[in-house]
């Protein structure tokens, strides 16, 4: 098991140790400083400013005013068209997550069984889309899905449909594009947890009388839940907050929360409302993920899900 490798120095113990410990602590802090600085300055501070802004009033002629209000939030909640966009965003998130899960699990399951050399090659292949800009990938889907695109061209020429199908600027095209973008995250995180499962557990399950299916549902699946959870969290958060893919493949016809936020910030310049929309999305996603983790960890108590 774990061995303690710390070597104690017997002579002058107190002096040496305290000096060492303080310098160790100092080193720890020094190493953390750069990232802490970046995080606080460029992530946390703007978030705070935006959060405050979301409670400010807005005047068309003056801009952001110095008055407190919850009007921005109230406006969103009371307007069904906005709520519809929130619901659509979450729906796209759910569907993308589920599709990724269904596609990625069997894929990752096969991947961990491959010999190392082949595995590395396939992983490289899975990751390769990440090397291409999201904009280019989205326009690539546009070429395939457009009214004069490859797919419609094929369908019409084969006589399957008479008129081209509307594939672009639909929820379908957004989900398709999103699955393509976030699929690697799901594969990698499921693979990580599958790889940690000791093969002898499956053997133990089999010799105790379980067939392959029972061994999978009784042992492999529950033990890979942490990977499923981590992958789902990543995929869901990336999807509901993504902007490029939904705007190119969905545009104004399939408005999502990030698109709405963008509109408020750049078109109407209503920063307080834009900020409120942003925080509503953050709030709702966090709640969704907490509920999701509760459901998962409820089913299996021995597996830790962070």
């Amino acid at each position: 098991m774990k061995q303690n490798l710390t070597v104690e120095i017997p002579s002058q113990p107190t002096l040496v140790r305290t000096k060492k410990q303080t310098s160790k602590k100092l080193g720890f802090v020094v190493l953390l400083l750069p990232v802490l600085f970046l995080f606080l300055l460029f992530f946390f501070a703007p978030m705070i400013v935006l959060f405050i802004t979301s409670f400010r009033t807005f005047n068309q002629s003056i801009g952001v005013e110095n008055q407190w209000t919850i009007h921005n939030y109230a406006q969103f909640i009371s307007d069904s068209s906005y709520l519809l966009i929130l619901w659509r965003t979450l729906r796209i998130g759910f569907i993308t997550t589920i599709i990724c899960l269904i596609l990625a699990y069997p894929f990752a399951y096969q991947l961990v069984k491959m010999p190392d050399k082949l595995k590395r090659l396939v992983i490289l292949f899975v990751l390769s889309p990440l090397l291409i800009s999201m904009v280019i990938r989205s326009y690539g889907w546009g070429i395939l899905l457009g009214n004069n695109g490859f797919i419609n061209h094929l369908l019409v020429n084969l006589g399957i449909t008479r008129t081209p199908l509307t594939l672009m600027y639909t929820e379908f095209s957004v989900i398709l594009g999103m699955v393509h973008v976030v699929f690697p995250y799901m594969v990698l995180s499921i693979m990580g947890s599958l790889e940690r499962i000791d093969d002898s557990l499956i053997r133990a399950s089999k010799i105790l009388g379980a067939g392959s299916m029972r061994a999978f549902f009784g042992v492999t699946l529950p033990l890979s839940l942490p990977g499923i959870f981590a992958g789902s969290v990543m995929v869901f958060s990336l999807t509901v907050s993504s902007f490029v893919t939904p705007s190119i493949l969905g545009g104004a016809k399939v408005k999502v929360m990030s698109y709405l936020t963008y509109e408020q910030f750049t078109n109407t310049l209503n920063w307080p409302y834009g900020a409120a929309i942003g925080f509503i999305l953050v709030f709702i996603s966090v709640i969704t993920l907490v509920v999701y983790s509760r459901i998962l960890s409820f089913s299996k108590k021995g597996v830790t899900i962070q």
Binding site: L201, A204, G209, K301
Partner: protein, 354 residues
């Protein structure tokens, strides 16, 4: 009829024959150890018995029925893994109950049988713990309980003690034998630790290069090894080489380091022979013994090992080790550099060969 029969089973990985036509018969209730160095095929053989590896040729029979090509879940065997392989997402109770649930045993019956198994392995009170909340020894006992609760035909143990510390290992191996005897289950115990094998086995199958070199009781294996490999692998040996000078009807006289000894076996005059003597069978005296031929040697090192004292001696450049019981050390308290006479009894020579 033997209870478990391995009938000439073989296994090839790519072009390497890991197990070569291995045959073995186990009686009901017997504990047989597979002992050998790593890579000798012992674990491969165990995995074939369990059904994790397909046998290339031959067959495995339990009570006369062929199980050689059944999947592991149809073989009704219990197995204890080196890593314990406890299901981390299940409590001790759920782990032990797993095999019974798969057999669709009734709930009340499961509870009763799990309790019995936990009692046997001294785990009462730990039912609701998760494996990570247990010590290594406790985890091992859960693993044993889980294997025996299904009342398997055969119990397979794959180096079950190698992850435990020395003291616990000795305790556990006694517990294992005790449990094994109390339920009378036919057991195969794979190990590379010869002391372990000697201590617990009814019979030991010493394996080397995919074959059983020798099978026999621990006493036989230790005192009458049939091959060089077995003599050297089990216990320690000193090898002596000599030449047959003369022979009579009963014995031949050999010359070893210029001294003549009689050895029991028959060899032609002029044959180069060699044999082994165990360190504990090498006698040392300060004075030249009158009744026996002896070799003069020089003490190189003396090591006190508790119950025994180990002498490293040199006879004309050949290193010889001799173990003297520590309570006899007064008789032969020899320091480094002093001269000592060594001799042995003729019936303690191992594996004399020409």
């Amino acid at each position: 009829m033997s209870f478990l029969k391995l009938d000439g089973i073989s296994k090839k990985f790519k072009d390497v024959e890991v197990v070569k036509e291995l045959s073995l018969d186990l009686e009901k209730g017997e504990l047989v150890s597979f002992l050998g160095p790593s890579g000798c095929g012992k674990t491969t053989t165990l995995n074939m018995i369990a059904g994790f590896l397909e046998i290339d040729s031959g067959d495995i029979l339990v009570e006369g029925n062929s199980i050689g090509h059944l999947p592991p879940n149809k073989r009704n065997m219990g197995m204890v893994f080196q890593s314990y392989a406890l299901f981390p997402h299940m409590t001790v109770f759920e782990n032990v109950a797993y095999g019974l649930k798969l057999r669709k045993v009734k709930k009340a019956e499961i509870k009763k049988r799990v309790e019995e198994a936990l009692k046997l392995t001294q785990l009462i009170g730990f039912e609701q713990r998760y494996p990570k909340e247990l010590s290594g020894g406790q985890q091992q006992r859960v693993s044993i309980a889980r294997a025996i609760v299904i009342q398997p035909k055969v119990l397979l143990l794959d180096e079950p003690l190698s992850n435990l510390d020395a003291k616990l290992r000795k305790q556990m191996r006694e517990d294992i034998v005790q449990i094994q005897k109390s339920i009378g289950i036919t057991t195969i115990f794979v190990t590379h630790d010869q002391e372990e094998a000697l201590a617990i086995s009814d019979r030991i199958a010493v394996m080397n290069k995919g074959k059983i070199e020798q099978i026999g009781s621990p006493f036989e294996i230790y005192n009458h090894p049939k091959t060089d490999f077995v003599s050297e692998f089990i216990g320690e040996v000193n090898e002596f080489k000599g030449k047959v000078m003369r022979r009579t009807e009963d014995f031949c006289t050999v010359d070893i380091h210029g001294l003549e000894f009689a050895i029991p076996n028959e060899f032609a005059t002029g044959t180069e022979i060699s044999f082994f003597v165990r360190p504990e069978n090498i006698r040392i005296t300060k004075e030249k013994p009158l009744s026996q031929p002896s070799l003069i040697s020089k003490v190189e090192r003396k090591m006190f090992l508790g119950s025994k004292t180990r002498y490293t001696l040199f006879i004309k450049g050949q290193k010889v080790i001799a173990d003297v019981p520590s309570n006899e050390k007064d008789a032969v308290d020899l320091g480094k550099g002093s001269e000592a006479y060594i001799y042995w009894k003729n019936d303690e020579l191992l594996n004399i060969r020409g």
